[in-house]
């Protein structure tokens, strides 16, 4: 055998190891869009609060409730976009959208995310509002780190960045809004763009 054949063997081994253990059809474009939704949502909330709440945010007022609705809408739109674009990309790659690799990915992503989501709901119910932004960033970051083992490894770094932003946010709750917009908006756009050019363009 020539060394060329051995090289091909090694390449094939690497390819199969990745294909069988990682779901790699995540779409970078969906990250960009999620970031844009988050920024639009944040800007709308900012406008609402500065225009209508006269410096004090009433927690049972309509402004606060509208902010929660915006938050839910951003999350919902991001998830739907991610599912649609990822399905499209998986089809193009002739990869199944719902196989062992994607199941593992979703499962490992959701464990920290749902834990965090429930925890935030619980403390909001106990009238502890100050840390919600920090906790969202931290738990989302942990979800990404946990999911990165089952998808493109680069997601790990986005996760670590979100965790750091979350911890800074916990230290300076006054800047919570800006850190939230930075973590969920700007970082998604930056990362999505990077992933798009690294993987989608091929």
């Amino acid at each position: 055998m020539e060394s060329k054949d051995y090289l091909k063997d090694i390449a094939e081994i690497k390819n199969l190891m990745n294909k069988s253990s990682r779901f790699i059809s995540l779409s970078g474009l969906s990250g960009i869009l999620a970031g844009i939704y988050a920024l639009i949502g944040a800007a709308t909330a900012y406008w609402l609060v500065t225009t209508y709440s006269y410096g004090t945010l009433l927690l049972d007022g309509w402004v606060f409730r509208t902010c929660l609705v915006i938050l839910a809408a951003v999350a919902f739109l991001s998830i739907v976009t991610a599912i649609i674009l990822t399905t499209k990309k998986a089809k193009k790659n002739h990869e199944k959208i719902w196989d062992n690799t994607s199941k593992r990915l979703v499962f490992n992503f959701l464990i920290p995310l749902i834990t965090g989501g429930l925890y935030i709901l619980i403390i909001l119910n106990q009238q502890k509002y100050g840390q919600a932004g920090a906790l969202m960033l931290i738990f989302y970051g942990l979800s990404l780190v946990s999911a990165s083992k089952y998808s493109l490894g680069d997601i790990r770094y986005l996760g670590l960045i979100e965790i750091v932003l979350g911890l800074i946010c916990a230290l300076f709750p006054g800047y919570g809004f800006w850190l939230w917009a930075l973590g969920f908006g700007v970082m998604h756009i930056v990362y999505g763009t990077w992933m798009h050019f690294k993987y989608d363009k091929q």
């Binding site: 060394s3 051995y6 090289l7 063997d9 090694i10 094939e12 081994i13 199969l16 190891m17 069988s20």
Partner: protein, 97 residues
């Protein structure tokens, strides 16, 4: 010469190499998963898994999921060690030239 001796004859086939690669990074894989990933026929895959099983490099577990028979494969300790040796030997061969 010593490098050549580490090239394992049992692995010297694309499909067997593929089976081992998949099982190295997964706790286990069933027959259909292997078939799809490697894009081979039933008979072809069966003969290669049998060869690896015979060498004691993979273990086979047959069970039923509902009424459907399901065959799962996993690497053995010996299989993992031999595969690593094989990969090292391949790398050395490539680097030498």
């Amino acid at each position: 010469m010593s490098i050549i001796t580490n090239i394992n004859k049992v692995f010297d086939h694309r499909i067997r190499l593929g089976i081992m690669s998949i099982l190295m990074v997964n706790e286990y894989a069933d027959f259909n998963t292997l078939k799809e990933l490697l894009d081979v026929t039933d008979g072809n895959l069966a003969s290669h898994t049998k060869a690896l099983e015979k060498a004691d490099y993979i273990s086979v577990e047959k069970q039923f999921i509902g009424r459907k028979p399901n065959t799962r494969y996993a690497t053995t300790k010996l299989g993992r060690a031999e595969f690593k040796k094989h990969i090292d030997a391949l790398e050395k061969l490539i680097n030498k030239e």
